[in-house]
Symmetry: D3
Subunit: 254 residues, 6 copies
């Protein structure tokens, strides 16, 4: 019998909790470590519809990147999205595990996967370990934008063009624009991240680095397939499914 | 159909949330306001065994004095008592409501009930509103101790004798010894409360006030019967039950 | 002779500093109130290129929405963008004034202007005064998106579709998504703002409100024309110019 | 001539200040290190009546466990117990020394003494050093309760019975119930401490550990005799007296 | 019989505690309100030698401007000046009262007295009430310096000359230089205070105000005579003495 | 070509920034590291008149002890002294460097220079490194006061005489009286510093140490000559000038 604890123990080997940020909340956030696991659903977020999908396919465990509970909850009621999700999971006997910033930083995690999907070569961490850098054949920014859009399946990109060809690229899945100076100091000409704010686009121009916002979902979601694959290899007798309904709710209008 | 919200609305009329302390957590802490209520269990604490009792008698709502969640929870798992309780309630479709410091302070609440059960007369609040004071026929402390033990059904009492007869008595159910100076300033010769610490017994002797620790459970539990009674009158079609299994786990050895 | 102080006094009448947020920095941030003003440049941001434009057209005052200094500066050197800008302004005898959150909230300010440009009717503030709400002829979201893009001159929009027609619209220029619940509580079906993050798009879907990110620049820049117009009417003898070079550095790639 | 400093120096060897908690206040709290010592009174607390006893027997130094000043005093007047005590000691030329949490943790201190008095065997510290653990011949809880009451001279005990026989016992004199989890994690079946609150008794039941509140005074006072004995051996020419009047003001009523 | 409380009650009428700064410590700081008062010593500071003087002349109460205890004391021992003073007072049966910032601000207090001694006319408070302002016949600064030195009995003065004649003068006894801007905003040409720091002298020059440091002792000590006089009138049967030995320990060398 | 950065690099060798206090602000506070340096003005403070002197003599760099900006500035306008100075420096193409607490602590810095000017022998730091101590031929305090006044060119001194001859002297230029206990613990009989407050003079008397306030300017200014000399030797082709107009604005009146 495989238990939730067995899954947790394995995830600790690929994304150790010692790598997580101080403010983060990771691990088993709902259910029981002693529960038997017969089917796993992997998704980026423990959104309500993802939990319903888990119930529909008969999964007894969801493994996500983002945490179900971010700040401590004072009540578990149907008045909040977190409360509804917790009630649904409990009522359907589904446990919930997540690996967040520990998976961002881990070797083979969110940012290594993003770098690989973008086709970077000689990938290495930028100190202190969150971002990754790698190399491309030198190309105009427009060519790289097209490649990013295709590789990540984005509907659109937002970016600032700092006038440089693309050759040495930094990546940080999700909202990593506040780490931009580390990418610039590492000598990267281009930085791919998400949730970029107005002043950060301008700051990139000041720093002389191309900054591309490829979307929070699209820069992080590739790790789900990797994570599901690793779980399937490790636990071959347990079906590990990728969420079929979880997609980016954000759309572009041109 | 009566819903959890209807019960909440009624409780607001007898223990308004405006009376609660800033640090407190009261109201609907688990479940759904829209849930239909067919049976209510009233108890001092939302302990795990009380929740099991609720399930066994078919209650869909528990109403307690103490809150289920005190400090925000970071996870809802079976590793903690709060987590196990939340999972059990969700799985059994039971909502949980509480009225804590708002019920302590409310007219007809915890402290008015305690004063009445002890037989005090001319009961009135001691500013700013938590404690109550009232009068007894003047008697030796030993006589009053015997009366308290009988009235509250305590196995034993702890006390300090400051050498005064008992006539004007202050009461504060639960751990109110830090409010002792208010009782002394109000001219009370005796103060009944619970969870008294060593230095507080000594402080009472310094202040010249008899201090009696009658137990947290025994000083607060009387309000449950009162609360259940009010709910039954207000919602005559819904069975309102008092917990039969919740008792004080603390024992005395002599 | 008109001085910088005269301009400041007038701006106080249209965007009183009593309306600003506690953390904001507004008013005269560089130069001298006693300086004579002969030409004014109005722009959204006091970026370096805007300051160079001011020097080139012979302006001795720039009036912007965003502040030149946000957090106190420890040094004024060419190692930072703020330092370079301050040195350039001082060397070219240009003073700098801004009206930030006071102009967001002011009647006829950023948000009233945005509402008007979008063609809303019966415009009114949403308490406590930052956002505005107004009405459109009921229309599908796709029709409204097209209208927003045209009205604001955006290259693209990001949005979440919550399945409602557009009729009652809230607006908040710049990064106002954290105020989304106020728009929802006011009964708006649609909210136009900027700098929206991943979880905020999802939160909008949960709240059942269409959320449109029309860009920080495009939602705030319309006020510049309004502000320049008011200044020109008040000070007819002083040429008031709109920045010709300041545009949104953020581009879309589809 | 033996001075107060000589006594302090000796106490440092048996209860080094490096062992005290950060928030604690220990050492010479009243009087003068240069004062000659001709008689010492040892007591648990520097209460007013203990200080009067010191004066009556001609002691020029009191050595206590609890500190005379806990939080800094703003005034030394007869309006407070601390003020009255300080004035009395000064007027009677009595210095006051204490060893509090340093003596709790020290080898041979409060908790080692408590463990020994209870007849534990193979006594050792529980990390990080405050509590002690030891072994008894396995016995029913009722038998152990009787032994504790006799050994410590308590009038009564309060306890929770978690259904286990007593064999491996943890002890922490005074209010140590917040350290209960350390006792449970160390595998103890029983924990003896004092000043236990309602929720802590319940928590013990949840943890499955017998919890006994044997009283703050009775769990700590045994160290006074030990401390007096050590002082007498070290300073054979100075009479070292144990307080004859200091007892527990808390009584039980059954 | 006159008690310390009677003296306190009278001081409350001339320097109400409601006028004191939040951080200040005033009133009865040592001894007993119930003590009989037969002789009073008034001095600026409760220094050790002042307390010895009180004992020598048989005073049972000292009344000072500066407080005996400023920050809460953790111990009352002869290792600190405050500890030695408290021990001495207690041993000699002397109580200690002070009126500090309440006396600075009070009508007829420290600053009104200083203004009067300097010969100012039409004396009035500068908002919010600490400093005083008044007028002199217009005179060169050198003439005013000579007058200040004579009036206060200073050995020397430190000052900055801002090039203005002296006509409207602000005063603040003790270390009030941080309030200098209030004096300047009130239109004063000259400010007399004490404990002035280097940057404050320079700031005065920038503000264009003559700043005179006449010494902490010399600017505050005049109030002692006034206070002693008021006490003597109010309590004619009790000898009220001014300290004969307390003087300024700071000397000038030229 | 020598740049401002070259000067900064050299100053780092004689007063490393690792020596500065946490709260301090040192280094390049105005202008550009890339600017060519053709003339340097050295002064204690970057006061407005010093900056004008720099402009008049054609200096393009000022090097001072005190920082131009102490707490972050929210605006650079002519309403404040710091703002006026920054505007003037920018308009005149003058950069500003300072070495403050790093120069206080550095070998050969402020305090070593002060010790040397006073003629101390066997000069060494007092832990943790700010103050210096050294020896004089034993002499009465009056003789030492005369020597200090002459050596530093003071108009007057303020001091407290603790009744000891002068032999082992501690020095701390500027406001170092709060470090007095370190001087006393090091066994010094005399301490020379500045900006001494009333209670500090009294504290010196209590500690039994002669305390001399020789003025902030006079105790720190000697380092300017030393610093200018070192710069001149290191950069022989660049004229390094000492400010001719910067003097102490504080005067004495006797």
């Amino acid at each position: 019998m495989t238990t939730v604890c067995d899954i947790l123990d394995y995830i600790e080997t690929i994304a150790p909790q010692s790598l997580k940020m101080d403010w983060d909340n990771v691990g088993l956030l709902c259910g029981s470590g002693k529960q038997e696991v017969n089917k796993i659903l992997v998704a980026l977020d423990p959104f309500e519809e993802v939990c319903r999908e888990a119930a529909e396919i008969g999964a007894d465990l969801i493994v996500t990147h983002h945490p179900l509970i971010f700040q401590g909850v004072q009540a578990v009621t149907d008045e909040t999205s977190v409360g509804r999700t917790l009630l649904f999971l409990a009522q359907n006997g589904i446990s919930a595990i997540n690996a967040h910033t520990n998976l961002d930083c881990a070797a083979g995690g969110v940012n290594d996967t993003l770098a690989a999907v973008l086709g970077l070569e000689n990938i290495s961490p930028i100190a202190p370990g969150l971002l990754r850098q790698g190399y491309m054949k030198s190309q105009p920014l427009s060519e790289f934008l097209s490649a990013v859009k295709t590789a990540l399946g984005c509907q659109g990109l937002r970016y600032v063009d700092s006038g440089k060809n693309v050759c040495k690229v930094a990546v940080g899945g999700g909202a990593c624009a506040s780490e931009m100076h580390l990418a610039a100091e590492a000598g990267c000409d281009t930085f791919v991240t998400a949730d970029v704010k107005y002043n950060q686009f301008y700051e990139a121009k000041q720093l002389g680095i191309n900054l591309i916002d490829a979307g929070h979902f699209h820069t992080e979601n590739p790790v789900c397939k990797v994570l599901a694959g690793k779980l399937q290899v490790q636990f071959p007798h347990i079906p590990v499914c990728l969420s079929q309904i979880h997609c980016d709710c954000t759309k572009f209008f041109f």
